[in-house]
């Protein structure tokens, strides 16, 4: 956490600050009274299905409005602040997204870069750079419908990073990527995580363990754990599957304890 001593600098030190955040998905409360402070770095968002990860990411992306609590992004209140200015600094990859089949990868990312209100002159070079960073430079001019699932996913990642956002929200970014591509992706995360607040929601344990500095664990909309990967692994006990990694056992132990405490 960098504390800015310059009195003229903006007051908030955190990229993402949530306080008592509650978000509905349909009629069901998917995220309940969540408190969170995330700064620069790569943060893993974990939890079983239905834990509210996707809803939380949507709330952070300002796509869904929380019905209670406050959310501050880069120090600005997401509810009352200038939504357009906020969104310019956000990159978001949803869990599922479609595309326009006849657009080439480049045109698709360019269109989204334009929707992100990037300065027009900067768009072509930024699109090029984004596609290069996800390893799709040679397929930039292929139509989206000719790309494999993993490539489409990578185009999605490219559009998320094209505007060099301060806050990068990725929901299951590695779905459909083969192991080699996942390794490249983790390198990209490390590179980006140096000056960006990255939240990666994923089921894949290796991704979190390898690329994330810390983890946030949710269960049924509630915060179970927030701390470093080491702390998560330290929670592992001897109960359960011996073939599971320390990480998985730590994850299971924390979930179990939480559920016992809550009396679920």
């Amino acid at each position: 956490m960098t504390v800015l001593s310059d009195p003229l600098a903006p007051t908030s030190a955190f990229a993402i600050e949530a306080d008592g955040l509650s978000v509905r998905a349909g009629r069901h409360v998917a995220v309940e009274r969540l408190g969170l402070a995330l700064d620069t770095g790569v943060h893993g968002l974990l939890g079983p299905n239905g834990a509210g990860k996707t809803t939380l990411i949507k709330a952070l992306a300002t796509v869904v409005r929380p019905h209670a609590g406050t959310l501050r992004l880069s120090g600005v209140d997401a509810d009352r602040g200038d939504l357009r200015a906020l969104r310019r600094e956000i990159g978001y990859l949803p869990q599922r997204f479609g595309f326009y089949p006849r657009y080439t990868a480049r045109e698709f990312v360019e269109y989204l870069a334009w929707l992100k209100e990037m300065p027009r002159d900067a768009v072509p070079a930024a699109v090029d750079r984004a596609l290069d960073r996800v390893g799709l430079a040679d397929r930039a001019d292929s139509r989206m419908k000719t790309l494999s699932g993993g490539m489409v996913r990578r185009v999605g990642i490219a559009q998320a990073i094209v505007n060099d956002p301060r806050i990068l929200l990725l929901d299951e970014p590695t779905a459909g990527l083969d192991p080699e591509q996942r390794v490249s992706f983790r390198e990209l995360l490390r590179e980006v995580g140096g000056d960006t607040c990255v939240v990666v929601s994923t089921h894949l344990v290796e991704d979190v363990a390898a690329a994330c500095e810390d983890a946030v664990l949710l269960d049924r909309g509630q915060l179970v754990f927030r701390g470093s990967i080491d702390e998560l692994e330290a929670a592992a006990d001897d109960v359960g599957d011996a073939t599971a990694s320390t990480f998985e056992r730590g994850y299971s132990a924390l979930l179990r304890d939480h559920r016992e405490r809550v009396g679920a």
């Binding site: 960098t2 072509p124 070079a125 090029d128 960073r133 140096g194 000056d195």
Partner: protein, 184 residues
């Protein structure tokens, strides 16, 4: 039908030819701009391997993206466009390696009044401005150079120089104040 060989074309015309896949034009563009670009990068990064890497990536990007320069609004030189590509690749490379500029930068003056800076950068320096410039500390100089001369954002400057963004903003602010005083 080509009547003129690439040597007779302007840089901007060369870029337009590159956009159409003209290898000869690309080679000519490289010949004309690579020494200058290498030197400019080298003045911001002491690591020659890194400079070589950034140069390669930049020119590959030029080959791929030449179409976007030709389509961009007229005005702005090909060299300027090349620099915007290379500067960002340099920042990316620093990000990847967790490094920052390792070359001492001569102290620039503080100040952000645009007209004053354009005067300074045109080769006709107001004597007063020159003295103020020479008087500034190296840190303020470095920030000013990155933001004004190199056209980098606050974030990119902080990556290039390896200092927090808040510090970049503070130094830029102090630079602006000092230059205003100098011109008053």
């Amino acid at each position: 039908m080509r009547k003129t060989g690439p040597e007779q074309l302007s840089d901007e015309q060369l870029v337009r030819r590159v956009a159409r896949g003209d290898r000869a034009a690309f080679d000519e563009l490289y010949r004309r701009t690579a020494p200058w670009l290498a030197l400019r990068l080298r003045r911001r990064c002491a690591d020659e391997d890194l400079v070589a890497e950034v140069m390669q990536e930049s020119y590959v990007a030029v080959w791929r993206a030449a179409g976007s320069f030709a389509g961009a609004s007229a005005g702005g030189s090909a060299a300027g466009w090349l620099w915007t590509i290379a500067a960002r690749r340099l920042v990316d490379a620093f990000r990847r390696r967790g490094r920052s500029a390792e070359v001492a930068v001569a102290a620039p003056p503080e100040g952000h009044a645009p007209s004053a800076e354009e005067e300074a950068l045109g080769g006709e320096l107001d004597a007063r401005l020159a003295t103020e410039l020479a008087r500034l500390s190296p840190e303020l100089c470095a920030v000013l150079q990155a933001m004004v001369l190199d056209g980098l954002s606050v974030r990119e400057t902080s990556l290039l120089l390896g200092i927090p963004e808040g510090t970049v903003k503070t130094r830029a602010r102090r630079a602006r104040i000092a230059l205003k005083e100098a011109l008053a």
